[in-house]
């Protein structure tokens, strides 16, 4: 009655790493990786084209067949200098940062408060009001451009930070996402807090928000990137370069008839894209967590 305790165990109990990979496995892996590389190349291609074009001499950007690998000795780094000087980029950066950061902070604050109200408060016509808000989401942005401009103009906010930031503060999209998320939170925790004597603000701050962190992070990222790239509203509401944001500044490098040095335009576009890339790399864990938050329960 000796039980076999030898190390050479049957395949079913061996650790996977010790199992010899079959040819089929290897092939499967190779195909999978090839596919992933292909998708990655397609995804990164526009960014690669942007950066490689930004060091090309004028006219070379248009070359056909395209020059995919400009050699370092042909690099026209002057494009970056020219781009920086073509528009007041220092000022544009500051304005873009203020617009994005302050605007997002304000939007999130408003969204959190209104989401909480719609999720946990009871007031007359609550559902009607919510439906009206949802309906507002369906209105195309261009339709409200003129009325918003007129309102902002009559308040004297044309060409000012107030005019840039305030109109975007009420985001139904952000509020909707947060409200839906708050509704999925376990009711017991809220009730426990209420029993302990917490008021609404206390519950929001100490109970709801910590549990909503991934969703809030997602909304912050979406809002930040959208504001960074926002073009139409800053174009309409600002008139002088000291108040403009980066996307509008890019416009100044183009001209209706005649000469556009696309190498310089690409270099300027790199200025606009880099901060977003940096933020993404720093915050990518939060972004992935937020995007996959609903994937599994709990």
């Amino acid at each position: 009655m000796s039980t076999a305790t030898t190390v050479s165990t049957s395949p079913t109990t061996a650790a996977p790493a010790e199992r010899k990979p079959t040819a089929g496995h290897v092939l499967g892996r190779v195909v999978l990786y090839l596919l992933l590389v292909l998708v990655a190349v397609v995804a990164i291609l526009p960014v690669y084209w942007l950066i490689s074009s930004s060091v090309k001499q004028s006219g070379d950007v248009h070359q056909f067949p395209p020059n995919w690998f400009p050699m370092p000795w042909t690099w026209e780094l002057r494009n970056y200098v020219d781009a920086w000087n073509a528009a007041p980029f220092g000022r544009l950066y500051i304005n873009s940062i203020v617009f994005a950061v302050v605007g997002t902070a304000g939007e999130i604050a408003v969204a959190i408060l209104s989401a909480y109200a719609f999720a946990f408060l009871r007031f007359p016509a609550k559902n009607v009001v919510f439906m009206v808000f949802l309906g507002a989401m369906m209105v195309p942005g261009t339709v409200v451009l003129m009325p918003n401009y007129l309102t902002v103009a009559s308040l004297g906010w044309v060409n000012s930070y107030a005019g840039l930031i305030v109109p975007g503060l009420g985001s139904v999209f952000a509020m909707f996402l947060l409200r839906q998320h708050m509704l999925t939170l376990p009711v017991e925790v809220t009730e426990a807090a209420k029993v302990d004597g917490a008021g609404h603000l206390r519950i929001l701050w100490s109970v709801i928000l910590p549990m909503s962190r991934p969703m809030v992070a997602t909304v912050v990222i979406i809002s930040l990137v959208q504001r960074w790239n926002e073009f139409i509203w800053p174009l309409i509401v600002t008139t002088t370069d000291t108040m403009r944001t980066l996307p509008v500044g890019l416009l100044m490098l183009k001209s209706d008839e005649g000469y556009v040095n696309y190498g310089v335009v690409m270099a300027a576009s790199v200025f606009v894209v880099v901060p977003v890339l940096v933020v993404f790399f720093l915050a990518q864990r939060q972004i992935i967590a937020g995007l996959t938050a609903g994937a599994t329960k709990g």
Binding site: S58, G59, H62, Q63, F64, A86, M146, Y149, L150, T151, A153, S154, L155, V158, N159, S160, G199, L235, I236, T239, T240, D241, T242, L251, M252, L253, K254, S255, D256, E257, G258, Y259, V260, N261
Partner: protein, 438 residues
């Protein structure tokens, strides 16, 4: 808890109501104020002019240089140039600004957008501002007449351009063809097979502003886009002009619709193309071959439209600002300044005497292609009214031509549809048109 939140809600609603009332009151006032801007400290005691323009990139730099020069040359006026995007974006902002009663003092308006402002009666009539040696005669007749309606000047020429026929001199040489380029379309058709041994296509047709370039063709065949507001696209001559080009595309396979005609030309894909004089600098630099230019080819005659933009003064600006605006325009219209603008941007010199300026003469000598545009200038004329005056007419016509160049639809069908579309829209503004023009 309930009473407290109800009070807060009521309080909020009251405040909101108050704001709405204030807004309504603000909208009711008739006063126009100057659009927002900023004035550097050293210019604070001067009269401040806000000048909206559409020039970025190189022309933008040239204009800023001119504006700075003006500001430094005198001590009464400070002109602040504000870039507002393309011609179309700028006029949209202007429309919004007018409704909001916060307007600039002078604006760059294209040959299309100025008519929109004129029809809306928002431009200042400029006859009374001319005095001494500052008269409408200093400008080239073609240009100043285009901005004159019922003997009143509304629009001063500034950045005017015309189409030009560009061709690849090296390819023409290799094909054994005359290196001055084709005189007329029949020649080009004959030469097409020889040219296409060295380039994929003979002629690249631009999609954007297609109807501006085609305006020349319609005139060359003896037709017109319109007679005043009456669209004449269904007349025989216009149809023939369209048919010839369509045959050149479909039967001879010599022409094609290009996503970017200047790029294709610079890459040697097409041996010839039609582009604005404004593209000359870029194309000369970007092409790796000898660039030749010549007049637009003739058929039964010559035809070439004008384009570009000029300056309008806003009727609702304060009187002293309008006066100051004309001072600035007067300064810009000195032959030396007009020549300076031309040299740096490639736009045409709008002031007659500018063509004799030494700097301009030397530039034309160094770059013979420059001379082509100047020599073609006296033969150009303003576009048929339908394209500039009817809202979005340019876009509709461009789309129709792009369809003709890239599909199998018949000229009769496409032009017939376009004719009806344009006529319908023209009839909507007929009353205003007759009041302002007749």
């Amino acid at each position: 808890m309930k009473p407290r939140s109800a009070l807060t809600r009521r309080g909020f609603l009251a405040a909101a109501g108050g704001t709405m009332a204030a807004l309504a009151a603000g909208c009711g006032s008739e006063q126009y104020v100057q659009a927002a801007g900023s004035v550097p400290r050293q210019y604070r005691n001067r009269l401040h002019l806000v000048f909206w323009h559409s020039f970025g990139s190189k022309p933008g730099e040239a204009l800023t240089a001119l504006i700075n020069e003006f500001n430094e040359s005198q001590s009464d006026i400070y002109v602040e140039g504000q870039f507002q995007g393309s011609y179309e974006a700028s006029v949209q902002k202007l429309s919004a600004a007018i409704i909001a009663h916060q307007i600039p003092d002078l604006v760059i308006l294209s040959e299309v957008t100025w008519r929109k402002m004129h029809l809306a009666d928002r431009l200042e009539p400029l006859n009374d501002y001319f005095e001494g040696d500052f008269t409408p005669d200093i400008y080239l007749e073609n240009f100043i007449n285009e901005g004159t309606v019922k003997d009143t000047v509304w629009w001063i020429p500034f950045a005017r351009s015309t189409p030009l026929f560009y061709f690849n001199r090296d390819v023409f040489e290799k094909a054994g063809l005359p290196t001055e380029g084709p005189k007329n379309w029949r020649e080009l058709k004959e030469w097409a097979p020889a040219l296409q041994e060295h380039a994929r296509y003979t002629l690249a047709l631009a999609g954007g502003y297609a109807s501006w370039y085609f305006q020349g063709n319609v005139w060359q065949w003896g037709g017109r886009y319109s007679d005043g507001l009456d669209v004449t696209l269904e007349e025989e001559k216009a149809l023939e002009a369209g048919q010839w080009m369509v045959d050149f595309v479909r039967k001879d396979k010599a022409a094609y619709l290009s996503p970017d005609a200047s790029v294709d030309f610079m890459n040697g894909v097409a041996a010839c193309t039609m582009l604005s004089t404004g593209n000359l600098a870029a194309v000369s630099e970007g092409a790796k071959f000898n660039v030749g230019t010549t007049f637009l080819p003739e058929y039964d005659g010559f035809g070439c439209p004008t384009g570009g933009s000029g300056i309008g003064v806003m009727r609702d600006a304060a009187p002293e600002r309008k006066q100051a605006a004309m001072e600035f325009i007067r300064w810009l219209s000195q032959p030396a300044k007009s020549a300076q603008w031309t040299i740096e941007t490639g736009y045409m010199p709008v002031v007659k005497a500018a063509q004799q300026e030494q700097a301009l003469v030397e530039t034309a000598e160094k770059n013979p292609n420059y001379r082509t545009a100047l020599n073609q200038l006296p033969k150009t004329k303003p576009q048929d009214l339908i394209r500039p005056i009817v809202p979005s007419a340019g876009e509709m016509m461009d789309t129709a031509l792009q369809k003709l160049y890239s599909s199998n639809e018949s000229v009769r069908d496409v032009f017939g549809r376009l004719d009806k579309q344009l006529q319908r829209k023209a009839d909507l503004i007929r009353e205003t048109y007759e009041a302002r023009y007749l």
